[in-house]
């Protein structure tokens, strides 16, 4: 009965709202303040939502650092030590960070890539064979990236034109690529003889490790790609509503394939970085990177069903994970306990995401009626 009152008047009031009256009021009356209010409202909308979410992540990060400072006060007593600790956290985040940027695109585009760790291993192994190394550092980089992009495109081909479910296609690729990596390396660890490659992880520029620069560049390019290019717009459209994208004339299949190719590209870059870190490559390297990358993206606010996500959020997710690892390392705690905490954080992040989403949609539906 309560409903009938409100909506009854709304229905009765409809003719009064018809066009000749209303636009005169809004458009001619006072356009300026209305427009201003609109702009502010729009900034507080979806974009504001992701900014708020990222601020929460920053707060979590600060809290984690505070825990570090409380538990290991002597480490935080000296500014050089603090700086070095931050650098080691960033270095820890660099390889997985690059992989996560690619993963973020794939997930926003409505897919998932379980084969990233395997692709990193395959690219690393292929780049460090005796034959490849004979072409020098350039040959190694070229090989790693070509192999990784090719494998990514095969994923994309299977998914978009072969109509395989992304989960299945990339799961199969995970198994196959690791197998091929083991075959190529004969299950041996292949040492990298290139001082240029090995120098990437060892060298610093202006006191900051090169690996951190690489992550920064990849993340920056990723941010621009997602937020400022037609490629990024297509990614959001395809992941947000694939049918709407298709009916708007977007070539969904080609774009889906390119997304997995992009993920492959990031894996190729990560393969070089990881090979450099260990001055070697082997079939078992980058183990479970897919889980770390997916978890970081999810914590960063990327919607697993696609259509929403940010590079900054994913990056914060990676750094939070690296900080936890660092926190456990400086306190001399086991990796087992660390994994349990990480698992708990993933669940907490998803729960928070759901609650907030529910609250927002409730708010909106309440406003509508």
């Amino acid at each position: 009965m309560t409903l009938s009152d409100g909506t009854g008047t709304a229905a009765a009031g409809l003719p009064a709202q018809s066009p000749p009256v209303d636009p005169a009021q809004t458009a001619a009356g006072h356009p300026r303040p209305d427009d201003l209010k609109g702009r502010r409202a729009s900034r507080g909308g979806e974009a504001g939502e992701s900014v708020k979410r990222n601020l929460v992540l920053v707060a979590v990060l600060v809290a984690l650092i505070a825990i570090g400072a409380v538990t290991q006060p002597q480490l935080y007593s000296n500014s050089t030590w603090v700086w070095n600790n931050i650098l080691s956290i960033l270095q820890l985040a660099s390889v997985i960070g690059v992989v996560t940027v690619g993963m973020t695109f794939v997930i926003i585009g409505g897919g998932i890539d379980l084969s990233v760790g395997a692709i990193v291993a395959l690219a690393g192994v292929w780049a460090t064979t005796v034959a490849t190394q004979s072409y020098g550092a350039g040959g190694m980089v070229f090989t790693a990236i070509t192999v990784a992009v090719a494998v990514g495109l095969i994923n994309g081909l299977l998914i978009s034109y072969g109509k395989l479910v992304p989960f299945i296609a990339t799961l199969a690729m995970l198994v196959a690529a690791r197998g091929l990596a083991a075959e190529i390396s004969d299950k041996q660890t292949q040492m990298s003889e290139s001082s240029l490659i090995n120098g990437i992880a060892a060298d610093k520029l202006l006191g900051i490790p090169l690996l951190v620069y690489i992550l920064a560049v990849v993340a920056a390019v990723g941010w621009v790609l997602l937020n400022r290019t037609t490629f990024g717009r297509r990614t959001v459209a395809v992941g947000g509503n694939v049918e709407a994208a298709r009916l708007a004339g977007i070539n969904v299949k080609r774009h889906t394939m390119l997304l997995y190719g992009l993920s492959g590209l990031c894996c190729g870059i990560a393969a070089i970085m990881l090979t450099s870190q260990g001055t070697s490559a082997q079939a078992a390297m980058a183990n479970l990177y897919e889980l770390d990358a997916i978890a970081a993206a999810i914590i960063g606010g990327t919607l697993l069903s696609g259509g929403r996500g940010t590079i900054v959020g994913s990056l914060l997710g990676v750094i939070i994970f690296a900080t936890i690892t660092n926190l456990f390392a400086i306190n001399g705690l086991s990796t087992e306990a660390q994994n349990m905490v990480k698992g708990g954080i993933i669940i907490a992040a998803v729960l928070v995401q759901q609650f907030r989403f529910k609250a927002v949609s409730q708010f909106l539906s309440r406003n509508k009626t």
């Binding site: 009965m1 409903l3 009938s4 909506t7 009854g8 709304a10 229905a11 409809l14 003719p15 709202q17 018809s18 066009p19 209303d22 636009p23 809004t26 458009a27 209305d34 427009d35 209010k37 609109g38 702009r39 409202a41 729009s42 900034r43 909308g45 979806e46 400022r228 290019t229 037609t230 490629f231 990024g232 717009r233 959001v236 459209a237 947000g240 509503n241 049918e243 709407a244 994208a245 298709r246 009916l247 708007a248 004339g249 977007i250 070539n251 259509g307 929403r308 909106l364 406003n367 509508k368 009626t369």
Partner: protein, 518 residues
Amino acid sequence: MTAPEAGVATTGHDDVVLRLTDVVKTFPGVRALDGVQLEVRAGEVHCLLGQNGAGKSTLIKVLSGVHRPDSGTVEWLGGPITFANPQAAMKAGIATIYQELDLVEDLSVAENVFLGHEPRRAGFVRRKYMAARTTEILDRLGHGEIPPRRAVHRLQAAGKQIVSMARALSHEARLLIMDEPSAVLAHDEVENLFRIIRELTAQGIAVVYISHRLEEIRTIGDRVTVLKDGRTTAADLPAAQTPTSELVSRMTGRSIEYVFPPRPDEPADRAELLAVEGLSRAGEFTDVSLSVAPGEIVGIAGLVGSGRSELLETIYGARRADAGTVTVAGRRLAGGDVGAAVRAGMGMAPEERKSQALLLGEPIYRNMTLSTFSQLARLGFTSSRREREAADRVAQSLDLRPGDVGRPVRTLSGGNQQKVVVGRWLLGDTRLLLLDEPTRGVDVGARAELYRVIRRLAADGVGVLLVSSEVPEVLGLADRVLVMREGRVIRTAPATELDEDTVLDLVMAGSLMEGAPV
């Protein structure tokens, strides 16, 4: 309001199982039910007739416990009742069989029949007993040959319908509501359905039967209630004897305001913009040929399931035709390629706005530029500023409210969301606009605005191909009208030569069975 009262007055039998009096149900901006009277007796087939938007679906939902009425009374088996939820209605003995059957495809027949109320012993499902009971019920329906352990997805549409009915019987239903049950069935299966319905009614079960096919109503129905604009316009009409003209006249002349802008003069330019020849898709439409000239609005009238939407999507390239050609301005389009259609200057506002056209969480302007952001970009770099400006212009010309294009499209009303979808194609070089149910779920005020927008587009030389279930809309908006029935175009005429009654007659008349009384 006098007609229903007269109807109710003539019946006062004590075998009435269901009686609705002055039932009202409103949704924001729409009065879906506005005083419905309905009376159903045990053992009868009571037919519900009305155009799209007349309130049939809302009425079903009230009866099956999905919606609660705002006012009015529902009496069930002699006492007033309100159903808290669909389960409560089911328990009380009212079962609904929806057009899209709500079966779990991967479960067996027996599991579907007893879904949610499986016979149990000590927490374990009594599978053998359940199968035996299912066979019993299927026997009652004359289909004891359906194996109770077969997975439902292996059954044909008719078989699935039987399973749905068996589920209703497993709840000891006393009233069965069937929403267009014949729509999914082939010719001979309909006869079988009627045989089953007769057996059920012989057992005293009441059936509320909804169909657009008048001949079916004459064959199976006992009495007819007609709805229009959420009101009962006729009750207790004898199904077999009432002349078609009377039924149709009770459904038409809707009081909802259709405010159409004045029709322009015949456009001078009669060159062909769109030419469709011999287009066919198995099971959807056959050998359809049509043309649209620049500045012309061509309307397609037909029932849901007549192949209208499928035709539109095939022309647009979202489906691949089995045969036939689509030519735009002299250039033949490759089949099954939306991109090619868009490049040729086509645009479409699909039937399901939310699931087929919009990114609900994205801002209005990004939804408007969804098909043009590449053109507005430079060297692959998008420009929010240029996109906002372009969207702002369109929003103003369409009188979009609220006009701030930065807001998420989710916050807009249905009518304004539709404006965003139509506005999308105003940004590009769209020469031909395909509109599928452009005013579905749109309130009266926004409807009139959309009509004006469509007319203005046509005046600017855009060709429009319009599909709508609402006959007055097609007649009021289009220059030329194609009437479709069962995948074929059965009549093409200038809109001024057709009226609502004629079109309704054409789309509803004896689609499955011939030889009906007129």
